[in-house]
Symmetry: C2
């Protein structure tokens, strides 16, 4: 499982303040702790910028700070073409874009940039017509339309990370199940394409969220999910994910599990 570290997001008050004040030290610390905890990408989000032009400036600054502090690529979190381009222009190496969706205008803005800068792309299986489609078959159809458009733009299927978007169980008891079915259907229907999720929506509005988030991550890995946007410094969550990968048969002689244990990454 590839981890996209979620912590550099201006929806968190302290991060919003650090971005406004250009407090590089604060952002560097968040970048380093997530890199040390095993993140493969670091999400940078400035969705709460006051002016549209500001978002691109903020993202470009965040990219340069993050890449100054770590060797990791950023996952640039915006659907606005100008903001993405401002960040990608200063990014070293191939970044990840988070995200495109089935809306033709968004795809027209994002895919040419992804092609130009050689990016991976997170694609939510949503269209403008229908914000989150009800069933896994409908979500697959949106994903297929996105895949066709990506192929047309010269982006290989392997660089797409489909996010079926999970809604909270508090608003529908089948929401997690539909997500899990969609991951299975996507892995089968679009072989080669990857799947990803932001985990924590599933438990929004419910108590003891960590239990639901952990169970959900394990179930999603069991369905073949490739990546997750989460807090890599949640050691218990990440250790459970690593144990799950070993349970799923991809760890000969449990070598990776034992290495993680020796390195103290499986908890106390």
């Amino acid at each position: 499982m590839e981890i996209v570290g979620e912590k550099i997001n201006t929806s968190r008050t302290s991060v919003g303040q650090a971005v406004r004040e250009r407090d590089a030290g604060f952002i560097e610390a968040l970048a380093r702790e997530q890199a040390q905890a095993g993140a493969a990408y670091l999400d940078v989000n400035s969705g709460l910028a006051l002016y549209p032009e500001q978002e691109g400036e903020d993202l470009a600054w965040l990219v340069s700070v993050v890449q100054g502090a770590t060797d990791l690529p950023a996952c640039v979190d915006s659907t606005r073409g100008e903001a993405l381009e401002a960040a990608l222009r200063v990014h070293r190496g191939p970044a990840m874009i988070n995200s495109v969706n089935g809306d033709p205008e968004t795809m027209a803005a994002v895919f040419p940039l992804a092609k130009q800068y050689g990016c991976k792309v997170v694609a939510t299986t949503t269209s403008r017509a229908e914000r989150v489609p009800a069933g896994s078959r409908e979500r697959l159809r949106v994903a297929e339309a996105i895949a066709r458009e990506a192929t047309r733009a010269g982006i290989p299927l392997e660089d797409l990370y489909f996010d079926p978007l999970v809604l909270s169980l508090a608003t529908g008891e089948k929401n997690a199940l539909t997500f899990l079915e969609t991951v299975r259907v996507l892995k089968k229907g679009l072989p080669g394409a990857k799947t990803i999720a932001g985990l924590s929506n599933v438990s929004f509005g419910l108590p003891q969220r960590r239990l639901l988030n952990r169970g959900f991550l394990v179930l999603a890995l069991g369905c073949g999910m490739d990546a997750a946007i989460l807090d890599p410094t949640d050691r218990e969550l990440v250790a459970l994910a690593r144990a799950t990968e070993t349970l799923l048969g991809g760890d000969p002689f449990c070598a990776r599990y034992l290495k993680a244990f020796r390195e103290g990454r499986l908890g106390p």
Copy 2:
């Protein structure tokens, strides 16, 4: 998920001593704490009895102590007909027998008792010829043979709990995966029959066993497993299982999850 409480087992030194000394108070405490933690059955095992005749006497004593302290049925843990019968004779209501397997002699000893006393039966998908078959298809074939024999003895499929037996990941990286596939194959191939597992074998010989056990329980529930033999007083494990049941869509309005939270069963 039905929980079979695993703690009253003479392989644990303190339990072995309590059974030898007929220390009813010690056993009653173990029975009560497992009942309060949500067990549906309480396993009683005296496999380390010194003489074969002793095992039946021990089991009968354990059943009467457990049923004196709680309202729960016992899960009588032996494959020896005489020992099982000694325990079932004193058991009130329908017990569970743990276990039968594909060996004709064992089935001939156990199924008539199960029929006579109206028991549920745990059936491991093993035969004498081949201790633990390698693949899920082979395990299904053993289960089908057991199901045929049970039907012949008048035991409904709904009363069978198939245990595909998980071997430790330390002895084979695909062991958990094969178990999980077998659960799926059994649920599909023998509709109505239940599935069950003793969890903790999966992590034998590996560090941080709780991580592997938790991940394995969640994955098994995701494959449709109906019951598990585990320590119900492991609050974090059971809370994670309850969260997983809610994630799997069977909890309208999250009512059971919220009730468990209000009752303090989801941890601190």
